[in-house]
C-alpha cells in the first residue's frame, strides 16, 4: 500500500458510496460515476454566464422536453466540468441547436449518432483542452467532461436512456464524449473557425453530428497524392453509405497537414481532390446492395428493390460518394509525431458550412 502525503483529503467511504449509488439508482448516469451537484455548485456555474437560467438552449418538442441553461449547468457539474468550462458547454449547445439534427431527434436514431465537438481559439489553452497526443483516446479533463456534459443531458434531461428513447442499434463509443481542440500551433493553415469567417482571438465550438472514427495509417506517405488516395479510400467505404452521398470530417495529424501544405495543397485543393477521387465503382455498390436510392428519403437500396430508383450519379459507372467539396471538413489535430490521421464519418449531409458557435467571454 502506498502511503499518501498528509495533504491528501480524507473521505468517508460510506458517504461516497451512498452519493454515487443515489445517482445510479435514478439512472442519472452514462454508466460512469457522476459528480453530485448541489445548489452551491450550480450557483458557481450559473455565475459564469450572463444568460438567464431559464433560457431554453434546445427543445425536443416531440418529447415535450427542454434543456435550460440551469439544467445544462447541473449536468455539466455531474460530468466533472470546472465552472469556467461552462461557457464552452453553452457554445456546444448553441452549435448543436443550430446544426439541427439533435432537435430533429437524431440522437434517438438507430444509426447511433454521436457529436464531434471541435474547439478553436484561446479557450483551448486557457482551459487545458488537448489538441495533441491521444486526443480521441481520453485523459484530458476539459475534453472529456465538456463532451460528457452533452451526453448526460441526453440521458437525464431528454430521457434518452439506451433502449428506451435512444434506439441506437449499437451507438458509438464517441457518445461517451468526443471533444477535441484543433492543434492550431502545429497547423500550416488558418484554424477551422477562421476558415469560416470567425475573427482571430475568438473562441468557438463546432458541432458535427457523426457516427464513427476510422484511422488512416500513412506514416510511409511521401507525396501528397499517396496520402490523399489513402484518405479517399477510407472515405469511400460502402458501409458508411446510408443516404445518396456522405460527408466527412478529416482530422489530419500535424505531420500529414504539413506534408500536404509543403506540396501545395490547401484546404480547398484537398476538398477537390477528395471529391474527385473518393469513388466507389458501380459493381462494388451492386455487390453491397447499394446501387439504388429510395424514392422519398433517398436512402441506399439494392437496384432491384421495389422502392429503388436508378441513381443518376452512376451514369459514369462510379459513385463520387461526397456530395460536393463542402461535404469535407478539415481539422488539424493530434501529436506532431507521426503520419496518422482519421476520418470521421459525419452526418451533416447538405450543410454547406459546419455549425460554429462563439464561446462568450
Amino acid at each position: 500500500m502506498t502511503l499518501l502525503s498528509p495533504e491528501a483529503p480524507k473521505v468517508d467511504p460510506t458517504l461516497v458510496e451512498t452519493v454515487l449509488e443515489y445517482s445510479y439508482e435514478r439512472g442519472w448516469t452514462d454508466g460512469m460515476p457522476t459528480v453530485p451537484c448541489t445548489g452551491e455548485q450550480l450557483g458557481r456555474f450559473l455565475a459564469q454566464t450572463t444568460r438567464a437560467a431559464d433560457e431554453v438552449l434546445l427543445e425536443l418538442g416531440h418529447l415535450n422536453r427542454s434543456l435550460t441553461v440551469r439544467l445544462a449547468a447541473v449536468n455539466a457539474v455531474m460530468a466533472g466540468c470546472r465552472p469556467e468550462y461552462f461557457p464552452t458547454v453553452l457554445a456546444a449547445w448553441d452549435a448543436l441547436r443550430e446544426e439541427g439534427y439533435v432537435g430533429a431527434g437524431m440522437w434517438q436514431s438507430t444509426t447511433g449518432i454521436g457529436t464531434l465537438l471541435v474547439v478553436n481559439g484561446p479557450v483551448r489553452n486557457e482551459q487545458g483542452f488537448n489538441s495533441g497526443a491521444n486526443l480521441f483516446g481520453s485523459g484530458a479533463r476539459a475534453n472529456a467532461t465538456v463532451g460528457r456534459a452533452l451526453r448526460l443531458v441526453a440521458i437525464n434531461v431528454f430521457g434518452l436512456a439506451p433502449g428506451v428513447l435512444d434506439q441506437s442499434t449499437q451507438g458509438t463509443p464517441a457518445k461517451y464524449s468526443l471533444c477535441l481542440a484543433e492543434n492550431e500551433e502545429h497547423s500550416p493553415w488558418p484554424a477551422l473557425a477562421q476558415e469560416h469567417g470567425v475573427a482571430v482571438g475568438e473562441s468557438t465550438v463546432t458541432a458535427i453530428s457523426m457516427r464513427s472514427v476510422s484511422h488512416i495509417e500513412a506514416r510511409q506517405a511521401r507525396t501528397a497524392e499517396q496520402l490523399l488516395y489513402d484518405i479517399a479510400g477510407t472515405v469511400a467505404r460502402t458501409g458508411a453509405l446510408l443516404q445518396e452521398t456522405l460527408s466527412t470530417c478529416l482530422v489530419l495529424s500535424p505531420e500529414h497537414a504539413q506534408l500536404l501544405a509543403d506540396q501545395g495543397f490547401d484546404r480547398p485543393q484537398i476538398r477537390e481532390f477528395l471529391e474527385e477521387h473518393a469513388v466507389v465503382p458501380e459493381e462494388v455498390l451492386v455487390r453491397a446492395g447499394k446501387d439504388g436510392v429510395s424514392s422519398q428519403q433517398r436512402l441506399r437500396l439494392p437496384g432491384d428493390h421495389p422502392d429503388a430508383r436508378r441513381d443518376p450519379r452512376l451514369a459514369s459507372g462510379e459513385l463520387h460518394v461526397l456530395g460536393g467539396p463542402e461535404a469535407v471538413n478539415i481539422v488539424v489535430a493530434g501529436a506532431p509525431n507521426c503520419g496518422i490521421s482519421a476520418v470521421v464519418d459525419a452526418h451533416n449531409v447538405g450543410r454547406p458550412v459546419p455549425s460554429i458557435a462563439l464561446v462568450a467571454r
Binding site: W28, T38, G39, E40, L42, G43, L46, R70, L71, L152
Partner: protein, 179 residues
C-alpha cells in the same frame, strides 16, 4: 469544509412546487412574536438578536424566539418547519454567508412563506447568486431576500448593531409592514 447540501435533480422533471405565493401579510407587527432562526454560522445569532432588539424599540415587536438550526447547509425538515412556523407571526433567518448555507437560508424563507409565515432571509452579497439559484430550484424564481455586505462573521457587536439598522428597512418591506 462546507456543510452537506442536497443533491440536485438533473432531469428537470422533479416534482417542483412551482409556488411563488407569499404568506398573507395580515398580522400586525406590533406585539407580534418574531422567530430569530439562526443557522449557527458565526455572528448569525448576534446579528439576529441585534435586529430583534432594534425592532422591539422601533416597531414595538413582542417576544423574540431564538431558534438554532441543526445544520446550516440544509433547509429545515418538516418537523423543524412546523416548530418554527407555529406560534410566531414573523421570521427572520441568518446568515447565508457560504455556498450551501446561503442556499439553505433562502430555502428556509421560501418554505416558511409557504407554511404561512412572512419570512426574511439574510445572505451576504457574495452568495446572492447561489441563493437566487436555490430559489429557482425550489420553484420560486425571483424570491426576494436581504443582501448585506460580506463579511458578517468578523463584525464587532457595535458593527452588528449598525448592520442591523441597515438591514431593518428591507426586512420590514419583505414582511409587508412597510411599502
Amino acid at each position: 469544509m462546507s456543510q452537506p447540501a442536497a443533491i440536485l435533480d438533473p432531469t428537470g422533471r422533479e416534482d417542483v412546487n412551482q409556488n411563488s405565493t407569499l404568506a398573507p401579510r395580515s398580522t400586525p407587527l406590533s406585539g407580534a412574536t418574531v422567530a430569530l432562526l439562526d443557522n449557527g454560522k458565526v455572528n448569525g445569532a448576534n446579528l439576529l438578536e441585534a435586529l430583534g432588539r432594534l425592532l422591539q424599540e422601533t416597531e414595538g415587536v413582542g417576544e423574540l424566539r431564538l431558534i438554532h438550526k441543526k445544520y446550516a447547509g440544509q433547509p429545515l425538515d418538516e418537523h423543524e418547519l412546523k416548530e418554527v412556523a407555529s406560534g410566531c407571526g414573523f421570521v427572520v433567518t441568518a446568515i447565508g454567508d457560504c455556498g450551501s448555507c446561503s442556499a439553505a437560508t433562502v430555502a428556509d424563507g421560501i418554505l416558511l412563506e409557504r407554511a404561512g409565515v412572512p419570512s426574511a432571509s439574510i445572505c451576504t452579497e457574495q452568495f446572492a447568486v447561489t441563493a437566487a439559484a436555490m430559489a429557482e430550484v425550489l420553484g420560486f424564481a425571483g424570491y426576494r431576500f436581504v443582501r448585506t455586505r460580506h463579511p458578517v462573521a468578523s463584525l464587532t457587536s457595535e458593527e452588528l448593531d449598525g448592520r442591523a439598522r441597515q438591514i431593518a428597512p428591507e426586512v420590514l418591506q419583505i414582511w409587508g409592514v412597510t411599502a
